[in-house]
């Protein structure tokens, strides 16, 4: 066991302890704490964005800029893969 794996195990156990300890402090599953933002979205989707689907309203209208970022992520992944495989010609 060279010292790299020992250091790795040390870091891994610290991260494990912190994660386990922090997860029990979050609100229990099924009882979310404050919900003011989501209640506003649920009650106002139909007249503000005109859709019945709350999730699509958040994805394309309330937080539409994230979806533009996400479309850019997919675009850059395609450009990256095509850049890496540019030597592959039919």
């Amino acid at each position: 066991m060279d010292n790299r794996t020992v250091a790795g195990i040390l870091v891994f156990s610290i991260v494990a302890v912190f994660f386990l300890f922090s997860v029990f402090l979050i609100h229990p599953f099924g009882e979310p704490g404050p919900v003011q933002m989501d209640d506003y979205i649920i009650t106002h989707t139909q007249n503000e964005t005109g859709t019945n689907n709350g999730v699509t309203a958040v994805v394309f209208d309330y937080r539409g800029f994230d979806t533009l970022g996400e479309a850019t992520i997919l675009f850059s992944a395609v450009a990256g893969v095509l850049l890496i495989f540019r030597k592959v010609r039919h």
Binding site: A16, G30, D38, G54, A57, E70, A77, I84
Partner: protein, 119 residues
């Protein structure tokens, strides 16, 4: 205790994925480790948005009599998870194409051997 089991599952997935990324030497296993961490974090985001007995926040043919802000699941974490899933696909595609090229170049997927071949 029963309502913290989903969070324990999240921590277990994140730690398993982190173990694979840190200690495994095979490139494909590192990629699999990262997608395990990614699905762990997605599960974490989804769990935060659940309300007991909640219905999907969609008004088309909603079961009659559901009081909709209280008995609906929160929509924002689902939108965040959608973005995170697409990020996972993009990162996975890029990593796998790199691994294909590294395998063609060095003939092995073992990180130690690649480092030795390079010198």
């Amino acid at each position: 205790m029963i309502e913290y089991i989903p969070f324990i599952a999240v921590v277990a997935m994140i730690l398993i994925g982190l173990y694979a990324v840190m200690f495994r030497r095979n490139l494909i296993k590192i990629v699999i480790g990262i997608s395990i961490i990614e699905s762990g974090v997605n599960l974490f985001l989804i769990i935060l948005g659940y309300r007991d007995g909640g219905v999907a926040p969609i008004f088309t043919s909603l079961p009659p009599g559901t009081k909709y802000p209280e008995e609906m699941v929160l929509p924002v974490p689902q939108a965040l998870t959608l973005t995170s899933i697409v990020i996972g696909v993009a990162v996975l595609a890029l990593m796998l194409s790199l691994v294909m090229h590294i395998y063609r170049k060095y003939g092995t997927l073992d990180v130690q051997k690649i480092r030795r071949l390079k010198e």
